[in-house]
């Protein structure tokens, strides 16, 4: 247990705990706190959280892996979340994920060598009416077609392919 | 007279000792045919020597008497089943006259009565064999057999009563002669001989059923039903004692067939034959005719065995007491009434 919270963070944690009826209920904000402190949530961070909350590390592990939006140590700078739940799946999220991976040159769940981009398949992003949906750094990309995917990747610094058609239809962008 | 006896015994011997092995072979071949098999074909051409091989094997087998068995009864049981069957054959006229020779061993004036009396003795062989074996399955078989034989003898006798009323005699020779006339003076039946089967079809059917039952042949093979009683009354027998039982069974079958032929199928007579012709040629012809009829009935025996399944024991008894006996009695009554009306 080498890791410790900084005094300010510790203070924030102490305040957090008081807001919940049970200590364990403060787990999610505590994890956010740790994420902010240490940049990501790695096993050491989980152990610290478990220690602070007073539960077993396995429990924290379960919670962290359940929520995809905690930044893990394996994640790159930008994480592309591709929704894989039913409506998106029906509208071709599999093909979309494959396309993205193909463009970036990595597999699903992997990170580029320069640690810039990670592509992840996640459960529902709560935009089922706009399927298929991707999310990059709090920006939702709705009804993602190939062209739109190209546009999205461009925003992450990956240039469009020469052969790709110029028809860009990215009017539905929401932040 | 001497000649008569010699010829008679010659035929008798052939029938009683030569026929059983042949019948065994025929039975196996016919069964195979019915079941789309080949049958014996290893020993000799077409397996013809199979019966001889069987006989040799039986001769050389160890003769076992089970511990606890009644030695005396155990030994005489096979003889008791063999002898009466052969003995009853004596009254069968297996031909007319060959010259002076009467083709019948004994023309008794009690004829049929002698036959039924003697055949009934066969039950002792089975009963003794089953009891003397000191084994439960043979005993059960013996009990079953006794009950069955007693029951069916009643029917047989009743069927015969109708025939005796029809022919007006118990002498077998006279019975044959009585069948050697046309069935009717004129009309379509004039071409049929007056065989018992045409005069008394019901009695014929009853008698045939009784013959099967008396011989313990399928579908009435209660005493030796393999599935329930292992081998029946001869389970404990081996070697020649077993062979005697076996032979006795086939001789009984032959004797019964001969009775059927004599009483119902016109005996040695065939339509268009001159009964008064006592030449040797005609005598031999009558023997051949008799043999042909006999083999036909034997074939029927075998045919039925490989066609019909065995009755259950209660069915056997019900068939006898609730089926055959009432019918036989009614048949006698009708025969009597017709007899009174036409006399």
């Amino acid at each position: 247990m080498s890791r410790e919270l900084s005094p300010e963070a510790q203070k924030e944690f102490d305040w957090l705990v008081t807001r919940y009826p049970q200590r364990e209920a403060a787990m999610l904000p505590t994890l956010r706190l740790i994420e902010r402190e240490f940049g990501c949530i790695d096993p050491e961070g989980m152990k610290l959280c478990a220690q602070l909350i007073g539960c077993s590390p396995a429990k924290v592990f379960g919670v962290v892996t359940f929520y995809t939006h905690y930044k893990r140590e394996t994640d790159g700078e930008n994480v592309v979340y591709v929704c894989g739940t039913l409506p998106c799946a029906l509208r071709g999220s599999d093909a979309l994920a494959d396309y993205l991976c193909d463009r970036v040159g990595i597999g699903l769940g992997e990170t580029t060598e320069d640690r810039k981009i990670t592509i992840k398949k996640v459960e529902c992003l709560a935009l089922c009416d706009q399927a298929p949906v991707c999310q990059v750094e709090d920006v939702d990309w709705l009804r993602v077609s190939k062209e739109k995917a190209d546009e999205m990747l461009e925003s992450l610094g990956i240039p469009k392919r020469e052969t790709a058609g110029a028809a860009a239809g990215g009017e539905e962008k929401r932040s | 007279m001497i000649w008569s006896l010699l010829v008679a015994f010659g035929v008798f011997f052939i029938l009683t000792n030569g026929l059983p092995p042949a019948l065994v072979y025929a039975e196996r071949k016919l069964a195979a045919g019915i079941q789309n098999r080949v049958g014996p074909n290893r020993v000799g051409p077409y397996g013809l020597l199979q019966p001889i091989a069987d006989a040799i094997k039986l001769l050389f087998k160890e003769d076992v008497t089970p511990r606890g068995a009644d030695k005396f009864l155990f030994s005489i049981a096979p003889i008791l089943s063999f002898v009466p069957a052969a003995l009853a054959f004596a009254i069968i006229p297996f031909g007319n006259y060959a010259g002076e020779v009467r083709l019948q061993v004994a023309d008794l004036n009690v004829g049929i009565l002698f036959a039924t009396a003697i055949i009934s003795l066969g039950a002792y062989g089975i009963a003794f064999g089953g009891w003397a074996s000191n084994s439960k399955f043979p005993l059960l078989a013996a009990v079953r057999s006794s009950a069955q034989l007693i029951s069916y003898e009643v029917v047989m006798a009743l069927a015969l009563v109708a025939m005796i009323m029809t022919y007006g005699t118990v002498r077998t020779e006279v019975m044959v002669l009585a069948q050697a006339v046309p069935l009717a003076e004129t009309g379509p039946f004039a071409y049929l001989p007056a065989w018992g089967v045409f005069q008394q079809p019901i009695a014929f059917v009853l008698f045939v059923i009784c013959c099967f039952a008396e011989n313990n042949r399928a579908p009435f093979d209660m005493p030796e039903c393999e599935a329930e009683l292992v081998g029946g009354y001869h389970t404990e027998y081996s070697s020649m004692k077993f062979a005697l039982f076996f032979q006795g069974e086939y001789i009984a079958m032959t004797t019964m067939s001969a009775l059927i032929v004599t009483i119902f199928l016109g005996g040695w007579h065939f339509p268009g034959m001159d009964v008064a012709d006592h030449s040797v040629g005609m005598g031999i012809l009558t023997i051949l005719v008799f043999m042909a009829k006999l083999l036909g009935v034997l074939f029927f025996y075998i045919w039925v065995r490989w066609t019909l399944p065995r009755f259950r024991y209660d069915q056997v008894m019900r068939l006898c007491w609730k089926g055959c006996i009432p019918i036989a009695l009614v048949n006698i009554a009708i025969t009597g009434i017709i007899g009174v009306l036409y006399s």
């Binding site: - | 045919g33 019915i34 789309n36 080949v38 059917v205 045919w303 066609t307 019909l308 209660d314």
Partner: protein, 182 residues
């Protein structure tokens, strides 16, 4: 069926027709049927050893299909036994002649195989239940039947012997991929 246990089922009163009650028409029918077989029926007997059971084609559409001879263990396309040692065959075996000891393997598609697989051919009654019970099509009964041996021990077939795929062997030639007639 109330009352004490009876030895026979009660007679069904359905046999009403006089013809049926007399039995005779049925008897005649049966007699004619057997007569037909006797006169025109062709023999199905394979006269072994003059005739070979493998060569004879008495049943053109049913080539030896129903014959149950000695077993083989089937190999998969990689030459490994298909058997996963689930022991359902030994559970189904009425003669209790199959001995299996499972073992763990780290194959990609399965993690279990028989370490020991023995069939005691002297106890086997060739009922084919093992073949029916097998969920993996791993054991089959071949038409091979005239396997002889000089000792009892030889008749206990081990895994190697059962996995035989020698085309010259009467059992081995029924090894995967194609079982003739199956």
């Amino acid at each position: 069926m109330a009352g004490p246990a009876t030895t026979h089922a009660p007679e069904t009163p359905s046999q009403t027709g006089i013809g049926e009650r007399l039995f005779l028409p049925s008897v005649v029918k049966g007699l004619l049927s057997t007569l037909r077989h006797m006169m025109f029926g062709e023999s199905f007997t394979v006269e072994y050893p003059e005739e070979s059971v493998y060569a004879v084609n008495k049943f053109p559409n049913d080539e030896n299909r129903r014959f149950r001879g000695e077993h083989i263990l089937v190999k998969d396309d990689q030459g490994r036994e298909k058997c996963v040692a689930c022991m359902l065959c030994s559970a189904a075996c009425p003669a209790v002649c199959i001995t299996i000891v499972p073992e763990e393997v780290d194959w990609e598609d399965r993690d279990r195989r028989p370490k020991v697989f023995e069939i005691d051919m002297l106890r086997c009654i060739y009922c084919g239940f093992c073949e029916e019970a097998c969920p993996c099509d791993a054991i089959r009964l071949t038409p091979a039947f005239y396997q002889v041996s000089r000792t009892r021990e030889e008749k206990v077939y081990d895994k190697e012997k059962l996995l035989n795929d020698d085309p010259d062997d009467p059992r081995g030639k029924y090894q995967s991929p194609i079982h003739p007639g199956k």
